[in-house]
Symmetry: C2
Subunit: 189 residues, 2 copies
DNA sequence: CGGCACCTAACAAACGTTCGTTTGTTAGTA
DNA sequence: TACTAACAAACGAACGTTTGTTAGGTGCCG
């Protein structure tokens, strides 16, 4: 029964947006989840769009940080790719709401915000692509690999994880990462 | 200015649902696209939910038919997988609206319809899994491949295509299929 | 003539949002 | 420790609009 902060609101919104979608969520739904009235949310935030942006920017930053960590921690392409995969899954599993909203609801931002988020997403994908390109140049990966396409393929497998993987199931997170890395590597070497 | 049939309505709805989402589409939006009033749609269909179901069932049937065709046309695992990939991309590209709605909006069906569609989707994924399993048993694929997980990985790459591939771009559909098959095969052999 | 596509008009409910008020909490002062 | 002033969180009612849907009427085509 404690009082809520702006952060509490954004976290609650993320959960709703991730499961019911932006347009499938009303301010009153959100208020119900938080134990307050829908109108009370406006004490914390300017509007529904601002809320969506706040959630998605959180998600974007998580992926951004994960990539920066992989880049600063590993130089060798295979190791860096493994770290990228590991970090991506960590974000997906440990910050399910923000990452799912980032991946699935960004299209509902208004145009200028959508453009900004798309730029952040492109930068993230470029880290994968450049890692693969470096691996090709160093000889760690096959020379006929197309960094752009194979980068998309790897990220496709990673992002789809959100749609089927349940951390409490039989497959541990470490095993999932292992399988992903194995499959990706066999496509690259 | 010709008169519309029920099929025209369903096709129009598919396009809107695919781009704006089910909850992001109003009956009046849909009417605007079709050149009639939102209320006039009710001359063709019982309600919005029925419309969503009609679109998604179309999508489901397209994938179903594609899989049946691959199974009846090829016995050998590698060939059958190639046909499955080819058919999947064909559905995604030639029936963009229905397939995208099927992939992204099924969660907004009411429960019993959602269950039915999920069952159809599971059956489709099982064709991929069984194809891989058969390849493992026949020796066409590596013996340590997990059919379930690698099936999910392959389908992840295929489904994600919808999010980035544009048929009018530099990459031809045949080349895309080629790249997908290549990457999938190297993960399996 | 019958049937079907489409219209106009309207409905109740739900939507995002605003506003003035009440409440709980915090900080400063005596 | 008590009193007070200030602030921010939450309420509750109301707003104008949009929502999905219904009813009854009009005109075209077979």
């Amino acid at each position: 029964m404690t009082r809520l902060s702006r952060e509490d609101i954004v976290i609650g919104a993320g959960k709703r947006f991730a499961t019911h979608g932006y347009h499938g969520t009303s301010m009153r739904d959100l208020g119900d989840d938080l134990g307050i009235l829908g109108s009370s949310i406006y004490a914390h935030i300017g509007g529904k769009q601002e809320l969506l942006l706040a959630v998605i920017e959180r998600g974007a930053r998580l992926f951004e940080d994960s990539a920066a960590n992989a880049v600063s921690s590993y130089d060798e392409s295979t190791e860096r790719l493994r770290s990228l995969i590991d970090g991506h899954i960590e974000v997906l599993v440990d910050h399910e709401a923000e990452s799912r909203t980032f991946l699935n609801e960004a299209a509902f931002l208004d145009l200028s915000d959508h453009d900004r988020v798309t730029t952040m997403r492109d930068a993230y994908e470029l880290v994968f692509r450049d890692t693969i390109r470096a691996g090709v140049l160093s000889g760690a990966f096959r020379s006929d690999v197309d960094p752009k396409i194979s980068g998309i393929f790897v990220l496709s497998m990673l992002n789809a994880t959100q749609r089927w993987y349940h951390p409490d199931g039989a497959l541990s997170r470490a095993d999932l990462v292992q399988q992903l890395h194995l499959f990706a590597m066999s496509g690259l070497t």
